[in-house]
């Protein structure tokens, strides 16, 4: 067997929309873009509306609160090593949209217990972002979403 560790590293551009979003996180703000034609609110933000195929029309600030859409507890890391304590994560449906199939949403850790994931009581629960004291303009400025 040939043992080889790829050295490929990347420096990704955050781009127009995500840069504003990341700077917003630094100020404890969740910012999205809105399309005035179809009223869709994009979080994470997009510079153009994919449904209308036109530029979005501006920025809106959303509450740092939402509803847990789904939640999981991972006992394996991304390298598939076993974890003693599970990472709990999921998607959060943020307030600010009347549509049901698509909505402004975030993927993040959820601060809750494994039991609440297992019995599904965390799904549908109201959660709020827990912000780090020191924020640098990163998705990690939010520690997790926690039940309120």
């Amino acid at each position: 067997m040939i043992r080889y560790v790829p050295k490929a590293k990347y420096s990704y551009s955050a781009g127009q929309a995500q840069s504003v979003f990341l700077n917003g996180l630094k100020e404890k703000k969740i910012l999205g873009t809105v399309c005035n034609k179809c009223k869709k609110v994009y979080v994470p933000p997009k510079m153009y509306c994919e449904e209308c195929f036109k530029p979005t029309d501006g920025w809106v600030e959303l509450k740092d609160e939402g509803i847990v859409h789904t939640a999981i507890a991972s006992f394996v890391s991304w390298t598939r090593d076993r974890l003693e304590e599970p990472i709990i994560s999921g998607t959060i449906k943020l307030y600010g949209s009347e549509r049901d199939y698509v909505f402004p949403g975030m993927f993040h850790r959820i601060c809750t217990t494994y039991d609440k994931v297992r019995d599904m009581s965390i799904i549908g629960a109201k959660v709020k972002a827990v912000w780090n004291e020191k924020r640098v303009g990163s998705i990690e400025d939010i520690q997790c979403f926690k039940e309120v």
């Binding site: 999981i72 991972s74 999921g90 993927f107």
Partner: protein, 401 residues
């Protein structure tokens, strides 16, 4: 049957198929699926291709065009895998790639190569050799996420499935025990499949008590990592009539890609699959899929996926597929057999090859050569399907004899 309220708002079905040629499958070949094949990716492709050509009664020299499908290059560990896998020897060759949905995209691409009139005889191949990635193929998936907003949270591919599965369980109140029945069914079906890696008798209890990977996913909810290749020969009508008395026709194809915003999408239902399915059904003249489809090969990398896919393919009402599994509807001797050859859960999951395996399983059913896997009822029309990328892609093929 309940319809997704928004379905006609997006995309769809502007595709009207007129003035295209009929296309048939006249040969299929597969390697055995295995955890680790001694053969190289190229040798796997050769074995499957030679078998497919032999059944068709053609030599490689007779082939006009080649289509090849393989998932991320990083699995085999060779970049430009399409070019690497198959020496086309100066014939036109196309590689298709659409994540997990690739395997069914291969015969879709083969279809339009022939239907358009550009080629009469196409060799369509799919391959994956996942065992070469170290320490585990799971790590290869690190680079499918949004690098700025998603990768820092540390997701692995199992998370996608766990998130969908849990939302599905929550939305329709489907218990894990009922979902596990799919794994039990498919692994039992695979026991009769000579190409299968993981056929056998297991119980719901075995699934529930297997290692928790990412709750709600246990190890036996998941198909195994595999190596393997599959190939089909697709030809125009006049060629089909010359070479076989039992051609299997491609009656309809459909495929869709939604956006990458899985974080802001209802994960309990695959709308993009419903749209792809409707496109294929419309082409095939099917108005009531649950009455007109005789056998189904829905994509089942995880047990709950077979249920979600049966629902989006309009073969079961939303949230009700597990109940129908319980009632035996999808058994080999049921009203609408599903994954009678064992699916990915039983045969194995070499990504692209697994998708094409679903189409080949359906082909065997329609040709009547499925042996012990043959379903009890007479079959005339069937559907096969795959799914992939960041919960956004679907590919559907309807076959008819």
């Amino acid at each position: 049957m309940e319809r997704s309220a928004n379905v006609y708002r997006y995309g769809l079905i502007h595709v009207e198929v007129r003035k295209v040629r009929k296309v048939a499958i006249i040969g299929a070949g597969m390697t055995k699926f295995a955890r680790r094949h001694f053969k190289t990716p190229q040798e796997l492709v050769q074995e499957a291709s030679i078998k497919a050509l032999e059944e068709a009664g053609l030599g490689y020299n007779d082939i006009d065009c080649v289509v090849i499908g393989s998932a991320p290059d990083a699995f085999d560990g060779v970049h430009q895998k399409g070019e690497y896998l198959f020496p086309a020897m100066n014939k036109p060759m196309t590689r298709v790639f659409i994540g997990g949905a690739t395997g069914v995209m291969v015969p879709i691409s083969g279809y339009y190569h022939v239907a358009s009139g550009m080629c009469d005889k196409v060799l369509a191949i799919a391959e994956e050799k996942m065992s070469q990635a170290r320490p585990h193929p799971q790590a290869v998936f690190r680079y499918i996420w949004d690098p700025i907003l998603e990768t820092p949270i540390g997701p692995n591919l199992l998370w996608i499935f766990a998130m969908e599965m849990h939302r599905y369980m929550y939305a329709y109140k489907v218990p894990k025990e009922d979902i596990a029945l799919v794994s039990v069914k498919n692994k039992a079906n695979a026991a009769d499949n000579p190409y299968a890696q993981l056929g056998g008798r297991i119980t719901v209890d075995d699934v529930i008590k297997s290692e928790v990977l990412v709750w709600p996913v246990n190890r036996l909810d998941v198909s195994p990592v595999s190596d393997g290749a599959a190939a089909v020969v697709m030809v125009s009508e006049d060629v089909a009539r010359r070479y076989t008395d039992t051609p299997v026709w491609v009656a309809g194809v459909g495929w869709t890609l939604d956006n990458t915003e899985w974080t802001g999408r209802d994960l309990s239902y695959n709308r993009y699959l419903e749209i792809a399915g409707r496109m294929a059904y419309k082409m095939a003249g099917i108005e009531r899929p649950n009455k007109e489809i005789d056998v189904a090969e829905p994509y089942d990398p995880f047990d709950y996926k077979e249920l979600m896919h049966l629902e989006a393919l309009q073969l079961a009402p939303k949230g009700k597929a597990a109940q129908l599994v319980k009632e035996g509807v999808f058994n080999r001797d049921g009203d609408l057999p599903s994954s009678p050859g064992g699916g990915l859960l039983g045969v194995g999951n070499p990504i692209a090859a697994a998708g094409l395996m679903k189409v080949i399983s359906l082909y065997w059913q329609l040709k009547g050569t499925a042996g012990k896997m043959q379903v009890k009822k007479p079959v005339y029309t069937g559907v096969a399907q795959a799914w992939g990328d960041l919960m956004q892609a679907s590919t559907v093929v309807v076959l008819r004899r």
